[in-house]
Symmetry: C2
Subunit: 218 residues, 2 copies
């Protein structure tokens, strides 16, 4: 019982800070997405493709969550954008206070789009509001088509599903119709994109939609 | 401070039950491995290959950990082995008390090998002793070669690394030497196998080693 109480307090505290983050980001007209996936589903390569594609058309910043290393922020910093690395040192998810600290290092006044790359983990991050406008879950074709059923919370709490690594479909036992159907059975309102961050397929559609969500301020 | 104390108590309680599990399994001469990986790295298909390969030579049981669904246990039950499904309902890892409950449903007297397939999560399960003889971490080539650096605990706490999905190497940006090197930099004593559960490559070597670890009782 004691643990349950503390867990609730932790989540209440998290939600308060998340709301503060959201109020601040919205006051600055920033569209914020929280990217969730398993390790290695292609979150960072997708962000690289987004920066290549619309980095000149939108002012973008990235917050990188990792258990260890600054490898991902280093990959993104070469685009000349603000990239703040949060190292959780074993922690399995980002929380709102970590993001609040990271936001202090970013000038929000000219920002259009903030992408938060969560720790690679399809379970724990889905329960934590960071103050984002929406969660985006990324599923790789290499993970198979049953993952929405086996890890439903990430798919239930997301607004958008990106099915990545479509270039590998000829080589992996993944039925795209089943993957889509399983995801929509968990969350019928999911908007679905199909991409290969490796070949660039589907990136224009994804980026077109992202630009609609994050209009440039006058 | 309160949370830290409770976390320590939870781990102490876990470790006591884990030791009880280990004592019981060893008393019955059962070799037990705890399989860790990201979602979709191929744990269940590897188990299917192991059962096909040595199911007639060793008495094997499986404990399946999943956030939701009994899909994995159903896949394994067709081999006619004891397959106990633990559904964590959102929980991000197995713990020793969950395994203790599952063990009550398995006849250990004739068992040689117990495989525990943990929840697909490269972060949280690595901190929990279930009473296993060793942890085996599975990395998929599709996840890229940097994962041992970014998720070091799973690789540090494992005794064996299985690099799976080697059949996809021609199609994915994964440098096998770098992946091996990164893993060994985190844990120089890792024993490494390379497999493709999809094609069967490397399965004989893995199964030969598993049979050495789990000699049939007279």
């Amino acid at each position: 019982m004691g643990i349950i109480t503390i867990e609730r307090n932790v989540l209440e505290k998290n939600d308060q800070v998340a709301q503060r983050n959201r109020d601040m980001l919205r006051a600055h007209g920033v569209f914020t997405c929280n990217l969730l996936s398993s390790p290695g589903a292609g979150k960072t390569l997708l962000l690289e493709r987004i920066l290549e594609s619309i980095g000149a058309k939108r002012s973008i910043a990235v917050i990188e969550g990792d258990v260890q290393t600054t490898l991902d922020a280093e990959r993104l910093e070469r685009f000349g954008i603000p990239a703040v690395q949060i190292i959780t040192r074993g922690g399995c998810h980002l929380d709102a206070p970590l993001v609040e600290n990271a936001l202090r290092q970013i000038d929000l006044t000219a920002l259009d789009l903030l992408c938060i790359e969560n720790v690679g983990n399809l379970v724990c991050p889905s329960g934590y509001d960071l103050g984002e406008d929406m969660k985006i879950v990324i599923a790789s074709t290499t993970e198979g088509d049953d993952k929405p059923l086996k890890y439903p919370a990430a798919f239930r709490n997301a607004s958008v599903l990106i099915i990545n690594k479509t270039d590998l479909l000829p080589h992996v036992p993944c039925d795209m119709a089943a993957l889509r159907g399983n995801a929509l059975s968990v969350n019928p309102s999911l908007k679905v994109f199909e991409t290969s961050a490796f070949t660039g397929a589907g990136i224009p559609e994804l980026c077109g939609w992202l630009m609609e969500q994050s209009p440039r301020r006058e």
